[in-house]
C-alpha cells in the first residue's frame, strides 16, 4: 500500500524574465514502511518537491496524496500524517527545547498528559532531556537537528520527511542521526522520505532511491536494480552514466557553503 502518491507534479516559479520550472512532471509513490531517498545535485528540485508535498508550496498542477488524503483539498488531514525536519532550522531560538516541543504538541492537538509523557520520551530518545530547559539559541547545529527530529515525531506521524538532514554536520553526528532514523523505521514502522546529495547516504540508508536532476526523475528503483540497469559498480557511477555529469559540480561546493552560512551564521 502506498502512503505517498505523487502524480504529474509540476511546480513553476515566476521569475523576472518569465517562468522557471523547478519540478517538471514528477510522479512516484512510496510504500508504507519504506525508506525512500530523493537523490540529486543542488538545485535539482528536491526541496521544492518536499515543500510542495508538505503543503508549504502550492502545486502548479498535479496530484499529491499523503496517507490517502489530498494535500490541496484535505490539507489538514494530510498534515496530521507527517512530521518534517527542514533543511534550514525552524525552531524558535528564544524559547527552550521543551517549549518548542510544547508548542508543536498543542498545534497538533495532543492531550496534555500524553504530551508531557511523549516530550520526555522523545527528548530522551535524542539525548536532549537534560538540556530541556536551555534556550535553543545556545544549541549546536547537531543538537538543533536532533531537537527538530524529536519535534517532528511528537504527534506519531506515519511519514517522516527529512530534507538534507545531515547537511553541515560532522560525520559522527551524521551517523548518530541515521541510526535514530533507521531505529524509528524498524521499531515504529514509520515511512521515511529523505532528500540528499550525498550518494553514500542514499546507498547506505535507503531501500529505494529516486535520482532527480533538473526537475525530473531519471530513475526510480531499488539500489541494486539501479546498479544492474546501468551496469555500474556504485550509485556514483550510475549517477554519472544516467545524467552525464557528476553529482557535485558547477559550484555546488560554494552553494553548500552559502547554505551553511545561512543555517548557522544568522545569530
Amino acid at each position: 500500500m502506498s502512503i505517498i502518491e505523487v502524480k504529474n507534479l509540476i511546480k513553476k516559479f515566476k521569475t523576472k524574465d518569465g517562468e522557471f520550472t523547478a519540478v517538471n512532471n514528477v510522479s512516484f509513490s512510496v510504500l508504507k514502511g519504506e525508506i525512500f531517498a530523493f537523490l540529486g545535485p543542488n538545485g535539482a528540485g528536491k526541496t521544492t518537491t518536499i515543500k510542495t508535498i508538505t503543503t508549504l508550496l502550492h502545486p502548479t498542477s498535479g496530484e499529491i496524496k499523503l496517507n490517502g488524503f489530498d494535500v490541496v483539498l484535505n490539507s489538514n488531514e494530510a498534515r496530521k500524517s507527517f512530521g518534517i525536519v527542514f533543511q534550514d532550522p525552524s525552531l524558535d531560538d528564544e524559547l527552550t527545547a521543551y517549549e518548542n516541543m510544547e508548542i508543536h504538541g498543542v498545534l497538533y492537538n495532543l492531550p496534555k498528559d500524553l504530551l508531557k509523557k511523549r516530550i520526555e520520551e522523545l527528548l530522551k530518545f535524542v539525548e536532549l532531556w537534560d538540556r530541556k530547559d536551555d534556550f535553543v539559541k545556545n544549541f549546536s547545529g547537531g543538537m538543533k537537528r536532533r531537537l527538530e527530529i524529536a519535534r517532528g515525531l511528537l504527534h506519531h506521524p506515519k511519514i517522516l520527511f527529512l530534507d538534507e538532514p545531515t547537511l553541515g554536520l560532522d560525520p559522527q553526528t551524521r551517523n548518530h542521526i541515521w541510526s535514530y532514523v533507521k531505529d524509528l523505521n524498524i521499531k515504529e514502522g514509520i515511512t521515511i522520505f529523505f532528500t540528499t546529495h550525498y550518494i553514500e547516504e542514499a546507498e547506505k540508508v535507503a531501500n529505494k532511491v529516486a535520482i532527480i536532476d533538473k526537475g525530473k526523475i531519471i530513475i526510480l528503483d531499488y539500489p541494486q536494480n539501479i546498479l544492474e540497469k546501468t551496469n555500474a559498480k556504485s550509485l556514483e557511477e550510475a549517477f554519472i552514466s544516467l545524467t552525464g555529469h557528476s553529482i557535485r559540480e558547477e559550484g555546488a561546493d560554494s552553494l553548500d557553503k552559502m547554505r551553511l552560512k545561512r543555517r548557522f551564521g544568522r545569530r
Binding site: 489538514n76 498534515r79 527542514f86 517549549e99 508548542i103 498543542v106 498545534l107 492537538n109
Partner: protein, 249 residues
C-alpha cells in the same frame, strides 16, 4: 482555538524575556514626554490650550502603542527568516488561527507597553479623573494595538526581507504619528492637514484616548470607537487574506 492561545503565549514569553526590548521601547516615549511637556508646556498654556501634560499623555501613549504594534507585526519577517513560520505552516491548523494568535499576542504586548507609558505619565503629573474612564482608556489602547499589529502583520506577510523596513518606518510610522493630533490639537490645523488626519486611524485612537482619559474629544468618543473597530476588522481581514495566500520559499 488552543493553537491561537499557544501562539499568543509565545509572543508574550518572547516579550517578557527580552527586558532590553521592553526598556528600550520605553526610552523614546519617556524622552518625548520629558522634552515636549517641559519644552512646549508653558507655550501651550499661554496660548490657552490648558494643561499640556494632560493633552500630551494620550498622544504619547498612542505613539508608543503604534510603534510597538507595527514592530510586533513586522516581527513576522523574522519568523520567515529564522524558519519558525514553516513549523506553523505544516501544522494541521487553519491559517486564520495562526495569524490571530500572532496578532493577539502582538496586540497584548503593545497595549501593555502603552499601559507602562501611561503609568510613567503619572509621574509627570497626569491625573486620573475617574476609574470608569480608565476602563475606556484600556479599550482604546487595545484597539489601537490590534489595528496596527494587524497592519504590521499584513505588511510583513507581503514582504520577503527586512530591506523594506526603513521605508515603512519613515513613510508609514512617522507620518501616522505626526499627523494624528498626538502632539498638537487638530482643530487649528490648515485644511489639507486636517483632511489627511481624517484618514489616519491613529487620529481616532488618540482622540478616543483623550475622550476617555481627559474628557476632551475632536471627533466624539463613540464615533472614535466605531471607526477604530471598523479599521481593525478591515486590517485583520486584509492581513489574514495575504497570510493565507502566502507560500514559504
Amino acid at each position: 482555538m488552543k493553537a491561537v492561545y499557544i501562539l499568543w503565549l509565545r509572543q508574550i514569553k518572547r516579550y517578557w524575556r527580552s527586558k532590553s526590548r521592553m526598556i528600550g521601547s520605553l526610552a523614546q516615549p519617556l524622552l518625548f514626554l520629558l522634552a515636549f511637556s517641559f519644552g512646549f508646556g508653558p507655550i501651550f498654556q499661554k496660548a490657552g490650550g490648558g494643561n499640556y501634560i494632560e493633552f500630551l499623555t494620550p498622544g504619547i501613549v498612542g505613539m508608543s502603542i503604534l510603534f510597538t504594534a507595527i514592530f510586533s507585526g513586522v516581527e513576522l519577517i523574522w519568523d520567515k527568516q529564522f524558519g519558525f513560520i514553516k513549523e506553523t505552516f505544516v501544522a494541521p491548523v487553519p491559517r486564520y488561527q495562526i495569524i490571530l494568535g500572532r496578532i493577539l499576542g502582538g496586540a497584548t504586548v503593545s497595549s501593555f507597553q502603552g499601559f507602562l507609558v501611561f503609568l510613567i505619565s503619572l509621574l509627570f503629573g497626569f491625573k486620573i479623573t475617574n476609574f470608569f474612564s480608565l476602563f475606556f482608556g484600556f479599550v482604546f489602547m487595545f484597539l489601537i494595538a490590534f489595528a496596527f499589529t494587524s497592519l504590521g502583520t499584513a505588511i510583513a506577510s507581503a514582504l520577503d526581507d527586512i530591506q523594506g523596513f526603513q521605508l515603512i518606518m519613515n513613510f508609514l510610522v512617522m507620518p501616522t504619528f505626526l499627523f494624528s493630533g498626538a502632539i498638537f490639537p487638530l482643530n487649528n490645523l490648515p485644511e489639507f492637514l486636517k483632511f489627511i488626519a481624517q484618514f489616519n486611524p491613529l487620529s481616532y485612537g488618540v482622540d478616543g484616548l483623550r475622550w476617555a482619559l481627559i474628557s476632551n474629544s475632536h471627533f466624539g468618543g463613540i464615533f472614535d470607537l466605531f471607526v477604530l473597530f471598523g479599521v481593525s476588522v478591515v486590517l485583520v481581514g486584509i492581513a489574514t487574506y495575504i497570510f493565507s495566500k502566502m507560500e514559504v520559499k
